[in-house]
Amino acid sequence: MPWLTLAVSVPLLAAALVAVLPARMTAAPRAVALGASVLALACMAVTWARFDAGRGMQLVEEATWIPSLDISWRLAVDGMSLALCALTVVLFVLAVIHGVGPKPMTRAAAALLLLLEGATLAFFLAQDFFLFYVAFDVTLVAMYFLIALWGEENRRYAALKFFLYTLVGSLPVLLGIIALFLAAEPNTFNMMRLAEQEPLAGAGVGASFVFLAFFVGFAIKTPVVPFHTWLPAAHVEAPTAGSVLLAGVLLKMGTYGLVRVNLQMLPDAFAEYALPVALLGVVSALYGALVALAQTDLKRLIAYTSINHMGYVIVGVAAAAAGGISAEARELAIDGAVLQMVAHGVVTAALFFLAGFIQTRARTRDLGLLNGLIRPMPVYGTLVAVAFFASLGLPGLAQFPAELQIFLGVFDVWPAVAAVTVIGIVITAGLFLLALQRAFLGETSEQWRGLTDVRGRELAAVVPLIVLTVALGVFPRLVLDVINSGSWL
């Protein structure tokens, strides 16, 4: 069975199916979305079982699409793809459970979610640059509508900003793709062959331009400071499930591209720019943490910590690209970077769900207004505390092994860079603890005493993520053995 193709096409076909459902079947869109996303999850579970961690890129599924340009429907997985696809299918099931927009879920919402899922999976699985690019842009469109249709007050502004930024980012990526296509001998969009060939190896200015084109595109998506201002706006205005998917999955497309394209296809150019890229990553990590420290809107706060955490990923990938790194440290850095993508996806998804829960109850996310929430909402408080501590990198929770490996890898090349980056963990500790102190501890004012604790569908959406957070923290090898960057890098 072509499991990868199934994983991509089931959500896409279901999206089409939902769109033509008669309007009177009100429960059907959600049921179809749930069914399709669970099927996609099952396809990835089968793939996980069939996957051989020692073999690098594998399980290739290929069908000629446009022969004149050597464009194929070509899907395959390696450790990084598989880990991110696993994250994707899990988060989409939970997002569907939680729902988007009015209840019951409308046809449009279900179709857009499924379209987004199919495109995201296609992006992470694509081994053909054409498909890669199309998937990249389709996710952009789907997310644009999710924000613009069901976001908060300022949703149109935020959606537009998100769209323009990422569109501007996707154009240089296209440019880079074409450059690589033309540079390859013979011309090809086959990403596996391009990674093998490294057509622009050592090719001076040309390679630098192509490298920068890709980097700018992926840096906007990640986002790296100073290309980040779309992120807080989009997160604050997006509906809860939109924030969850945006932070949980879509940001990873940037860092995934950085590894898949910049590192694997343009290693020589990357080696040349490794230090500047790392410094941008450090700036992102510290800038994100410091700005997050000043936030009182819980969603904005989480958004900026995402910039901090993705900054670590950038630093790790840059270290792996540097010339002087030992093979062992390189593996640590990339293992850590990919694990950080997964761990951040799980933890931040939980955080955005949790921020949404308080928004629906208290009609505010302002940490200055909320207080003493632990009393009326003990379960909620506990879940938030675990997610906060995970996000500040406490051992035993998901992000610690990832960040530790990144720091270990980076220290091997640039000890000073690693030393500065580590300061980020203190600032994040500060901002999360202060947020806990403000909103959860202390006196409970009259207006919050009647708040109800989380329940039902909310628990179903967030508890699996908390369980994953603990599991990844205690047994990081669950995912690291699959990532196994030594086998494909």
């Binding site: 323009l164 240089p172 296209l174 440019l175 074409i178 406490l394 500060g430 603890l433």
Partner: protein, 631 residues
């Protein structure tokens, strides 16, 4: 042996889970779990006494050298038995202390979980495991400090404790990174790297130890931590967790050789004096004891630096029993009087003579009155410091201070009051039982000095007539200073009460600038960066307009692509000027729709057109961006 190692940590963890699940039987479960957990710990100590060592580890990361596991050797066995014993006594006490508290089970579960993490810390087989549990005990400690919901200071104290220690923990992180980079191993017996990297590692470890052990200038978090329930203060903030810093120095003694160890000695010596002065100036019993703890931990730092691990460890064990006894006694007074402020405790010792006896026993040991254990352990430190006159003087000063800061509250507790107070009824048996057990242990500890040195394979503890004589003199001076208080400048007293302004300084130098930087960057982020990006967009648009015209003459097909891009950039520009005008949105939406239709049509043969358009458009943008950058 491996089973014993894991059981030592697993039993309290299991008990914590059970207490959480079955809150009604919390008390028996807690006592059973804590006492049972001491059994494997003592079995480990017996095994270590028989010169046995063991290691049990699992591979935690795929890369080699990242095992997580536990080890048995002399040092870990002593620490583990200390933690388990003090833990058992404090938890028995805690079941009484929390008997009337409906959230008691939550506190008991927290204490048991802490016990498990602390065992993980002291039994850790290498620096990775140590780091993991080091951070976990910090987080669990914060949770326990914040337990009192009615106390406004509790959350603030918890936050400060966690942040101060985590800041210092950066040192441990960096030491771990550097050690791995230099040696490819995180084992405790890793070879010390030469040169600056070696010193860097040492410095990082000392910094982390200073944070955890509340050494000056990072001592103030410990005072704030006194907002936690008294059993928490007894177990975490006097006997075990704060001692982890000393344990870290003892464990990594070889790695610290040279000036990092010297630094630890100086920090300890100064803290010993500062802590004593702070303790003297407090008017809350628990805060007096907190000041005393920093001072005593400072002595242990001097012990490691001047005499080696065995000297420090002897005092660590003795101090753990004595100081925990003091805290538990303080908790008994607290239950009777509902306060720990000294002015509220006048005569409390007369009302509750059993508690006062326990308090006196602990105080005599900590104040180093012969023949109690504290006298011998402190004497070893003093004798070891003899060759370092400055440290020696600090040790003697702190000895005089300890006599004074403990005698002062003892006199208050014993002062006669007109009306005798009532004794609290509930939970008294378990409280007296737990505290009594510790008091007995602290009596016996005078004998452990020699066996300890055998266990740690170290030289006999140093001792000298000079240090004994001067220590006794210091003791007398301390007592005299309380009985006939000298006149001190008010400024000095105030400085001591305010912890020498360390708090204010930390606030002014670290906390405020960090928060201000955050706010400043936030402002810049909300306005500046966006404006910059929009500015670039504007420049590109202007340039692109000009170029589009020129380009149109050359290449017909390009117009489409450039036009479309210009439109999108222009739309963003218009938006900047007119904040979210609907027209812009509609335009973009239409564009998106067109793009979507186009991508759907891709397979129907119009690919080449699309490709050509986009290529040309993208090339134009690339050129423009390059031009804009150059201009």
């Amino acid at each position: 042996m491996a089973a014993l190692l894991w059981l030592t940590a697993a039993v309290p963890l299991l008990a914590a889970v059970l207490v959480r699940l079955l809150p009604r039987t919390a008390a028996p479960l807690t006592i059973g779990g804590a006492v049972l957990a001491a059994v494997p710990a003592w079995a480990l100590l017996a095994a270590a006494a028989g010169d046995e060592t063991a290691r049990s580890a699992l591979s935690w990361l795929p890369a080699a050298g990242f095992d997580v596991g536990l080890r048995l050797d002399g040092l870990s066995a002593v620490m583990s038995a200390t933690v388990a014993t003090v833990g058992a006594a404090v938890l028995v006490y805690a079941t009484g202390y929390f008997a009337d508290d409906e959230r008691g089970p939550s506190a008991l579960a927290g204490l048991l979980a802490f016990l498990a993490a602390m065992q993980g810390l002291v039994l850790a087989e290498g620096f990775l495991t140590l780091l993991i549990f080091w951070e976990l005990v910090g987080a669990l400690s914060a949770r326990l400090i914040a337990f009192n919901r009615d106390d406004a200071g509790a959350p603030a104290g918890a936050v400060r404790a966690f942040l101060t220690t985590r800041t210092a923990d950066v040192g441990l992180y960096l030491a771990v990174l550097a050690l791995f980079a230099a040696t490819g191993s995180l084992a405790f017996d890793a070879e010390r790297p030469d040169g600056s990297l070696g010193a860097f590692i040492g410095l990082g470890l000392v910094l982390a130890a200073m944070g955890k052990s509340a050494q000056a200038p990072l001592q103030t978090w410990l005072t704030g931590a006194m907002a936690g329930p008294t059993p928490v203060s007894a177990l975490l903030h006097s006997a075990t967790m704060v001692a982890a810093g000393v344990y870290l120095l003892a464990r990594s003694h070889e790695l610290l050789a040279g000036w990092p160890l010297e630094l630890a000695g100086w920090v300890g010596a100064l803290t010993a004096v500062v802590g004593a002065a702070v303790a003297l100036a407090q008017d809350d019993l628990k805060r007096v004891l907190a000041g005393s703890t920093t001072s005593q931990l400072g002595l242990m730092f001097v012990g490691v630096a001047a005499g080696g691990p065995a000297v420090a460890l002897f005092h660590l064990v003795v101090h753990a029993a004595g100081k925990a006894t003091l805290f538990l006694a303080a908790g008994l007074f607290q239950h009777n009087r509902h306060t720990t402020a000294l002015h509220g405790l006048v005569g409390a010792g007369r009302d509750d003579r059993r508690a006062f006896a326990l308090f006196a026993l602990g105080a005599l040991s900590i104040a180093a009155v012969p023949p109690l254990a504290g006298f011998w352990s402190k004497d070893a430190i003093a004798a070891a410091a003899e060759e370092h006159p400055a440290w020696f003087a600090c040790v003697l000063l702190s000895a005089a201070g300890s006599a004074a800061y403990l005698l002062r509250p003892a006199l208050v507790l014993w002062r006669e009051e007109a009306e005798p107070g009532q004794l609290a009824r509930t939970g008294r048996t378990s409280m007296l039982g737990g505290a009594g057990a510790l008091a007995v242990a602290s009596l016996l500890l005078a004998l452990v000095g020699a066996p300890l040195t055998t266990l740690l394979d170290s030289e006999p503890l140093p001792s000298s007539l000079l240090s004994i004589g001067l220590s006794l003199l210091a003791l007398a001076v301390g007592v005299a200073a309380v009985l006939r208080p000298p006149r001190l400048p008010a400024a000095l007293v105030r400085a001591a009460r305010d912890q020498l302004g360390v708090d204010a300084a930390l606030r002014a130098l670290v906390q405020r600038p960090t928060l201000a930087t955050g706010s400043g960057l936030d402002l810049a982020d909300r306005h500046g960066v966006d404006v910059l990006v929009h500015g670039i967009a504007r420049t590109v648009r202007r340039a692109s307009r000009g170029l589009a015209v020129a380009d149109g003459r050359v290449l017909d097909g390009a117009v489409d692509g450039v036009g479309r891009t210009t439109l999108s950039v222009a739309a963003s520009q218009r938006w900047v000027e007119e904040r979210g005008v609907d027209a812009a949105v509609d335009g973009i939406a239409r564009l998106v729709g067109a793009g979507g239709r186009q991508s759907r049509r891709l397979q129907s043969g119009r690919l080449h057109e699309y490709l050509r358009d986009t290529v040309v458009g993208a090339c134009a943008i690339g050129v423009l961006v390059a031009l804009a950058a150059l201009l």
